[in-house]
Amino acid sequence: MIFPTIEFCLFFLVVLPVSWALMGRPAPWKLFLLGASYFFYASADWKFVFLLGGVTLGNHLFARLIHRSDDPRRRKQFIAAAVTLDIGVLAVFKYYGFFVEELTGALDGIGMGAPLPVLQIALPIGVSFFTFQAISYVMDVYRRHLAPPSVLDAALYISFFPQLVAGPIVRATEFLPQLTRPRDPGRVAVGAGIMLIVIGLVKKVAIADTLAREVVDPVFAVPEAYGSADVLLAIYAYAAQIYCDFSGYTDMAIGVALLMGLSFPKNFDRPYSAKSLQEFWQRWHMTLSRFLRDYLYIPLGGNRASRPRAAVNLWVTMVLCGVWHGAAWGFIVFGILHGTFMVMEREAKFRFSWRPPSWLACGFVVSFFAFTLVPFRTPDLATAGAVLAQLAQEGAATLWNPVPVLMVLLVIGGQMLPPRPIDALRLRVANLPVPALAGGLAVSIMIVAATIPSQGVPPFIYFQF
């Protein structure tokens, strides 16, 4: 069940009123939301419901043990065990096949056999997101920012359906207080919620899927069939597509939660307006960036250490950011490129007082990101090389049609415009009367639905992570 489908609409039409009807009685309300969230997850594959439940119970058990213990050594052992459990789940389901295959290749090279069976394990949808939320939960308990809540609250925090499969990665300290105090039925951000749902739908279905269908997928499937102009368009179109696909999902997730009286942190803030890579990562997948900052970069020593050590910390963090996306050399290369360039960028700031003009810095960041997405998008590094090699090949611009070109300009260029008029417009729309909001939602869904191809809505890109 994904957001832009009739199944989800029907699901939400039941969940929304029942959730508000039960809001006054916390236990039934939370039980209902937990049941709805597990139903939502089971609709993708019921077998992985047990994994979700297991991760929840395991982390909750460790959270309680950590909380009860005053012995720093024991607490450390418990947190290490909890994080090992979560990373272990990721390692088995996400990285096992890649790791064993590469290890076997390396050992074969020195005449040794395969130490482990080479298996391709089914990837549970959203595993990277809910394990990170679980880590956030036990870490916050370990840091004494949070006392373990009831098992019901912990389970609902990890599995709450709007953010379960593709984020945003919400901190326990942000979500759990919302469960302990009843939501105020007189203070619901209805306009903002509906507007975010509409914006998310347009981004995903009308823009991201169109760019994929018209430009990105054909070029990345057979790059040899296209000349430099088409390949260049496809590289920037993919940057626009992945932004609309992922931010569209989180817009819808945030909008759905708002209508239920709950709020999530923002996950994107005009990333293509960034003037440095550091700023870019403060605007792109913001909840992952802050997770990596708070639970990896700072524990490694952050920038309080010496300059060389801080550079290593940053590089390691960015490489692991790449690896988080999946088990493939393309993601590792993506992380290495970003880590290396961010270290260079930081060094340049220390050494030189010159700063490039905004337009140049902005253009560079967008282009750097778009080109580093090539190994991210292709199935292997050889194909990434083939895509980049085609940039030197002449050929007719067969894909430069007005619709995809305008979409790329609108998505990337639009973020570079001053935000104030757009924010003002959003506020005006959010403040429209309820009948206008309802009419706008219906008409938007109808128009967006008309752009869906006969084979349905393709899955969100970040579902595979």
């Binding site: 029907l10 300290t173 920038n303």
Partner: protein, 344 residues
């Protein structure tokens, strides 16, 4: 990265600016939007439900879609809305209106189904020396999601050889579910419009649906179901061969990890084998299961050059990039004795 200490966060800090309303307003807005959608696009809900795979989701969507469609049919708004939004549609609706499989009309020169053309016999079958190889100018690679990534691997390999590779993957479709895409009609359209020299068909990941026949509806996966499936496959083979002008390569399916799906795949493969019989050399079956799932047992990895490598996707159904490469190698070995690439 800038360092900031963690601290408990005010839960309302993330709520966007704008007027606050009541929970009742939220419910009313969503229900009114749903009601408007029923009036303006109720038929769309019904059509979507009809195209969905059998199961709880389909039953629920149809339970809403039928009355919604009925309401929309009684009012003039839905057709007006269809006209307004119709031009946004990115493709033609290729599904069968009544859910039936359209037996393709034989293309010119293809003859009737009982007529065996001489192309059914290869020179090797008759103990004759190999004849001249034909030119492969256009290759069509089609099917459901199984045809990926094979289609792009073949297209990339043949792009420098002067071969135009047309890739037409139709994801989520199946021969037994013509609601979504009627392969009977669509294969005829492909054969006529593309007129390929060779066709690669890799189709069958989404089969197992009940099929109506003259004797009633048949359920997967007994002999009646297999017979109907084979009849449909045979009709498509007849279409694609274009009276001997097109060489068809029909890929048998590798067994899946999931046992229930594996049973369907075994039946589909058996039906394809039966369907291909009369075509002889015109339709070559590509023994994918023999390579990827020898002895009918699912495997994630194969020994390639003395090293175990993963060849299947995480879903246990599709071939991954490496698996696609192996399938493409096999196809190239079949294409090379029969064709000269491009015009040369």
């Amino acid at each position: 990265m800038t360092e900031q200490p963690l601290r408990p966060v005010d839960e309302d800090v993330h709520v966007p600016p704008g007027r606050r309303r009541t929970a009742r307003d939220a419910i009313v807005a969503v229900l009114v939007a749903a009601a408007l959608l029923v009036v303006l696009d109720g038929d769309g809900i019904r059509r979507t439900g009809e195209k969905m795979d059998t199961g709880l989701g389909r039953s629920v969507v149809l339970a809403v879609g039928h009355p919604a469609g009925w309401i929309a049919d009684q009012l003039p708004f839905a057709s007006a809305a269809d006209q307004v939004t119709g031009w946004f549609s990115p493709d033609d609706d290729l599904g069968s209106a009544d859910g039936s499989f359209t037996a393709p009309t034989p293309t010119a020169g293809s003859g009737g189904s009982s007529r065996v053309p001489p192309q059914a016999f290869s020179p090797a079958d008759l103990g004759e020396p190999a004849g001249d190889r034909k030119a492969l100018r256009t290759l069509l690679v089609t099917g459901d999601s199984m045809s990926q990534p094979l289609d792009s691997i073949l297209a990339r390999r043949l792009s420098d050889e002067g071969v135009r590779t047309v890739r037409e993957p139709k994801l989520g479709t199946g021969i037994s579910k013509p609601d979504l895409l009627d392969w009977g009609a669509y294969s005829g359209q492909q054969a006529q419009e593309i007129a390929p020299d060779a066709v690669v068909v890799f189709l069958g990941a989404n089969e197992g649906f009940p099929m109506p026949t003259d004797a009633g509806t048949v359920e997967c996966c007994d002999a009646d179901w297999a017979a109907e499936y084979a009849t449909r496959v045979r009709a498509m083979m007849q279409t694609y061969t274009r009276g001997g002008r097109t060489q068809v390569y029909w890929m048998l399916l590798p067994i899946s990890r999931d046992d229930a799906r594996a049973e369907i795949i075994r039946t589909v493969n058996a039906a394809i084998r039966v369907a291909a019989g009369p075509f002889g050399a015109q339709v070559r079956l590509v023994d994918i299961p023999g390579i990827f799932t020898p002895e009918g047992r699912y495997r994630d990895a194969l020994d390639i050059g003395g090293r175990e490598q993963i060849v299947r996707d995480a879903d246990g159904i599709h071939l991954n990039e490496r698996g696609g490469e192996i399938a493409a190698d096999l196809l190239e070995r079949l294409l090379e004795p029969q064709f000269v690439y491009g015009d040369t």
